[in-house]
């Protein structure tokens, strides 16, 4: 499942493959959940967001068109829309006595940061397993280069060169959208 592209997994989901959905969950649930905590403010609602998003992926996979957008872009839109729905629902529930909402925040992704994160997650999933392992251990497990060397039984010099190569590959994968990449700096 590790080497399979997102778009292939979505096709399998469309044919009713629950393992394919689990594969997409492994890649994106952390980001959706983190988005929920950040924008919705509590873990319970964030869990609701994750369930909503992946249920929606399951139900609508047959309608996903890889010609129009990547899976990451698609799941990003679902996440943004579901988060907005949850914010609206919560606003409807929580009101002061004069009917004004208690808070006005709730714009999901005004800076585009959420969208960028989904792009990076998608790019990461397209890297070779060796390159992805280097970056995942460094960025998501917080290991130093030496710790990665020990964990993977790989010479330290090789870890350093692979890390450089992995960052380069990630940059190239994201480079398909280079204009936007630099435009929003």
């Amino acid at each position: 499942m590790d080497r399979v592209e997102d778009e292939v997994l979505v096709r399998r989901v469309a044919s009713g493959d629950e393992r394919a959905l689990a594969g997409l969950y492994d890649r994106y649930a952390g980001l959706v959940y983190g988005t929920g905590i950040r924008y919705l403010g509590d873990r319970e609602t964030a869990e609701e967001l994750v369930q909503d998003v992946f249920t929606s992926v399951w139900k609508n996979a047959a309608g996903f068109d890889p010609e129009r957008a990547s899976f990451a872009t698609w799941v990003y839109r679902i996440t943004r829309n579901r988060a907005t729905d949850l914010i609206r629902r919560r606003k409807a529930r929580i009101r002061t006595v004069d009917g004004e909402p208690l808070f006005e925040s709730g714009e999901t992704d005004p800076s585009g940061e959420l969208s960028r994160n989904f792009d990076v997650a998608a790019a990461l999933s397209r890297l070779s397993p060796v390159h992805r392992e280097m970056l995942v251990l460094a960025y998501f497990h917080g290991l130093s280069q030496r710790e990665i060397s020990e964990r993977t039984a790989t010479p330290l010099g090789t870890v350093k060169s692979r890390t450089t190569a992995a960052l380069r590959a990630l940059r190239e994968t994201l480079g398909f959208d280079e204009d936007r990449w630099f435009a929003d700096e």
């Binding site: 009713g16 629950e18 959905l21 689990a22 969950y25 649930a29 952390g30 980001l31 959940y33 983190g34 988005t35 905590i37 950040r38 873990r43 964030a46 869990e47 994750v50 369930q51 992946f54 249920t55 399951w58 139900k59 940061e113 959420l114 960028r116 994160n117 990076v120 997650a121 990461l124 970056l135 460094a138 960025y139 998501f140 130093s144 280069q145 010099g157 350093k160 060169s161 890390t163 450089t164 190569a165 992995a166 960052l167 380069r168 990630l170 940059r171 994201l174 990449w181 700096e185």
Partner: protein, 222 residues
């Protein structure tokens, strides 16, 4: 760039800030002199910042959430009929509709017995029709009448199945200023076997039929 492969391999860890101090100095010295490596360092720094941003945004979901998501879609699937089941169900619906149209006797669409209601002296302009439809426990009487005096307070009319001196109530109803009524009443499964029907005016709780007859008629088997 091919003339300095070792330094170039360190650019990744350099932008991540994970090099040993002496390696970091070596890379910085090199970047001072090499524009292409400076360019690459700039690009890799961007990738590093994006990854760091992603890492900052990711939270580990509760371990059981994945199971709950899968259980949720399984419940969703259980509720959703497979297309072939839906097609068969649709075909049965069409057959049922056709059966009701083509064989009304089976579904109570045609009357088992009916009667024209004739007026009495108490309501000389009144008239009506009764038909009995249905099968088994689902018998009903369809009553349509007109010209009846409007009910006064606590007054109502009652429809009776009549045989000799026996009376079996088929239900009660009231009439407003129009004097008309069009109502379906539940009937006992033997309703069609009675020879006559009648309508009386009632105004108390006595379960027996009053003597105030308003309409009557003979039931004819269809």
């Amino acid at each position: 760039m091919s003339e300095h492969p070792d330094i170039r391999d360190l650019v990744g860890p350099y932008v991540m800030g994970t090099l040993e101090p002496h390696e970091e100095r070596d890379v910085e010295d090199h970047l001072q002199e090499c524009a292409s490596c400076r360019q690459e360092a700039q690009e890799l720094r961007l990738a590093h910042e994006r990854l760091a941003g992603l890492a900052y945004s990711i939270e580990t979901p509760p371990p059981d959430l994945k199971e709950r998501v899968v259980a949720g879609i399984q419940r969703h699937e259980a509720r959703r009929l497979p297309s072939w089941v839906a097609a068969i169900a649709a075909a049965f619906c069409i057959l049922a509709v056709l059966a009701v149209i083509l064989t009304p006797d089976l579904f109570g669409g045609r009357a088992l017995a009916s009667a024209n209601l004739n007026p009495t002296d108490r309501a000389p302009d009144a008239g009506g029709e009764v038909s009995i439809q249905g099968t088994g426990e689902n018998m009903e009487m369809h009553l349509e009448a007109w010209g009846l005096p409007p009910c006064k307070r606590e007054q109502y009319y009652e429809l009776w199945l009549v045989e000799g001196k026996d009376r079996v109530s088929a239900g009660s109803f009231t009439v407003g200023q129009s004097g008309r009524v069009d109502v379906k009443l539940n009937a006992p499964n033997f309703a069609g076997s009675y020879p006559k029907v009648g309508i009386t005016a009632e105004h108390d709780k006595d379960p027996r039929a009053s003597d105030t007859k308003m309409l009557s008629g003979e039931l004819h088997q269809s």
